[in-house]
């Protein structure tokens, strides 16, 4: 069991708890640098994991830290994607400028959604974001001039500073760099007063207000920042999938994003990344499990049906909510605690108390 000996306030301000944790992350970074050499076939898939990680980060800031659950984040992804493609291709702007503009536009859309959201609480906000996403999806289909409508829009590979990032390897490093940048910025915000204000809004709006937090401004800021991250993710996503169509950015994608943060573990940046890995790996696992099922009374035909996959996602979501609401990160923390407290770990440490329903209407 390790004991953390603190000698100065500045120690608690750092991004890492101590040098040991920092070294682990440096090792992880080194591993990621070398990974393309080790598994060259999967480089494209891992880039997608990084993009999902960025999306998870965005939703984690909004849902995990500020407590505003959004069922419409796929719309922001789409706005970022279409905006970037419009600026980069139709207007031939440099790549960085295009991404920056896409980021700003998506942030503006976030503010637009956030403003009416100030007056809504809890599930009303979720429903409002859902409605917003459905409206945006319809706009994607109708606004032919910018989005190519239902025909779709092809996307070229990115070109920065004259270098083409067309190769999978270059794109991999680009996504990794953007993800690390976003993680650093977000971690900075979360250890500063803004992050504390966000968490305060999640836990008790009235107390936050009494301590001087302008709830309206901070909620809007949360929406804007979350949407800005989604805008950047959308730009990278557009390059990854090479062809934009309105039905990609559907409610199902929003649900998948939310599943990512819930399964990963709400309330921590690690959770966003675990969730991204999970959501990216799951289809691969499912298809491999399907191939492994024996041809016993037609069971292999049964599991190969196309309608089964969304049901499996739903089942996993339900099982996580019922049995591990803290997500993968929560489970990892519990495992670490078990080994840290060995052999004194009590099984009842995390047993949930019998809870009675409070009236959430009066929050």
């Amino acid at each position: 069991m390790r004991f953390l000996f603190k000698t100065s306030y500045a120690q608690e301000l750092g991004l890492f708890r101590d040098n040991v944790q920092r070294n682990w992350y440096v090792a992880l970074f080194a591993a990621l640098l070398v990974l393309p050499r080790v598994v060259p076939d999967y480089v494209g898939d891992i880039s997608l994991v990084f993009i999902y990680g960025l999306c998870g980060l965005s939703l984690m800031v909004l849902a995990g830290y500020t407590g505003l659950i959004s069922l419409g984040h796929a719309a922001f992804l789409g706005i970022g994607a279409y905006a970037h493609v419009f600026f980069a291709h139709d207007l031939q702007l440099p790549w960085i400028v295009s991404v920056a503009l896409a980021c700003v536009i998506t942030a503006a859309a976030g503010v637009l959604v956030g403003l009416p959201a100030l007056r809504m609480t809890g599930v009303y906000l979720t429903i409002a974001t859902l409605a917003f996403a459905l409206i945006i999806q319809e706009i994607f289909s109708r606004w032919d001039r910018v989005t190519g409508g239902l025909k779709g829009k092809p996307v070229d590979k990115p070109v920065l500073f004259g270098f083409s990032f067309a190769s999978e390897l270059a794109f991999y490093f680009l996504c990794l760099a953007v993800l690390i940048g976003a993680l650093w910025l977000t971690a900075n915000l979360l250890r500063a007063p803004t992050g504390r204000a966000w968490v305060a809004i999640r836990d008790s709006e009235i107390a936050a207000q009494s301590m001087g937090v302008n709830v309206a401004v901070y909620k809007t800021m949360a929406f804007a920042y979350s949407a800005a991250l989604m805008g950047v993710a959308g730009a990278l996503f557009a390059h990854k999938i090479s062809f934009l169509a309105p039905d990609i950015f559907s409610v199902l994608l929003s649900i998948q994003l939310l599943l990512m943060v819930v399964v990963g573990g709400l309330g921590s940046l690690h959770g966003a990344l675990y969730g991204a890995v999970f959501v990216a790996i799951l289809p691969v696992l499912i298809s491999q499990a399907r191939d492994a099922v024996p041809a016993w009374h037609g069971l292999d035909r049964f599991v190969k049906q196309p309608g089964l996959e969304p049901g499996l996602f739903g089942l996993i979501l339900v099982l996580f909510i019922l049995f591990e609401p803290l997500g993968i990160y929560g489970r990892w923390m519990k495992v670490k605690l078990y080994f840290a407290m060995f052999p004194l770990y009590k099984r009842a440490t995390f047993k949930r108390q019998k809870a009675y329903m409070r009236s959430e209407r009066l929050r």
Binding site: L13, L185, P193, T194, A197, A208, Q209, G212, V213, N214
Partner: protein
């Protein structure tokens, strides 16, 4: 010097009149207690001062400025802090994180600076931490610094709630039933702390309280409320002997 002045405050909730015209003054450096039976409107006054509710009639002024229509988050910046009757702490955060939120009224860093965590932000964070540690020392909360609120006993939570209010460095502290749920020893400690807050920190205190021994020990003046109206005001002894107050508590 009058710090807070309430002038004919009244508020209705639908058909219920919670306050029917209440006027009182809180002088700088004094401890004023509001007493009264349940439902008299005491916490409603606090909610009006913290601007959670809007009054139907009447005016509130603080340090000479009218605060009747000021937005709720402005109140902390102006120097009024409060505790809540049912503790409104952030359950799954540590004591330290709760107290650091109390410093939000003194936030001087901007969003972009925080995004990049510039050295100025780091220096300000250390300053906030220093201020919070002073409050922790004052209220002897050192052993609980890193505990989650959800793991703390009720008495300690009440103290943390008060500490969080103190972290805003207020001029006026509103304490809503500070001794409710506390044992006899904890109530005595609370009395000492309220006296220290007034004498050592120079903070004016406006309290709502039911425990008459605490009221007598700590208050300079008392205001008695019943059915949304002031029925008596004066020193603790005068008010407790007042016939209307006796009737309100014991029935007539």
């Amino acid at each position: 010097m009058t710090l807070l002045e309430a002038d004919n405050l009244a508020i209705n909730f639908g058909g219920i009149t919670a306050l029917a015209g209440v006027s009182f003054e809180v002088g700088a450096g004094e401890v004023l207690t509001i007493i009264g039976p349940n439902g008299a409107g005491k916490t409603t006054i606090f909610n009006l001062v913290s601007r959670i509710y809007d009054p139907t009639r009447g005016r509130l002024s603080f340090c000479g400025e009218d605060i009747t229509r000021v937005p709720p988050h402005e109140i902390a910046r102006r120097g009024i802090a409060r505790t809540f009757q049912n503790i409104e702490l952030f359950e799954h955060a540590t004591v330290l994180q709760n107290l650091l939120l109390g410093r939000h009224a003194h936030k001087r860093s901007r969003f972009v600076e925080e995004l990049l965590f510039l050295p100025r932000v780091r220096a300000l964070e250390l300053e906030h931490r220093g201020a919070v540690e002073k409050v922790i020392d004052f209220l002897d909360l050192q052993p609980y610094r890193d505990s989650l609120i959800v793991n703390l006993p009720y008495g300690v939570r009440k103290v943390v709630e008060m500490a969080r209010a103190l972290c805003t460095q207020p001029k006026l502290l509103l304490l809503d039933e500070p001794s409710s749920g506390l044992s006899v020893e904890e109530t005595e400690e609370m009395a000492f702390w309220i006296q220290d807050i007034r004498t050592l920190l120079g903070i004016t205190v406006l309290m709502v309280e039911h425990d008459m021994s605490l009221v007598s020990a700590v208050s300079d003046r008392v205001v008695a409320l019943n059915y949304g109206l002031v029925i008596a005001a004066g020193t603790p002894r005068d008010v407790q002997a007042h016939p209307d107050v006796v009737k309100a508590y014991l029935g007539g």
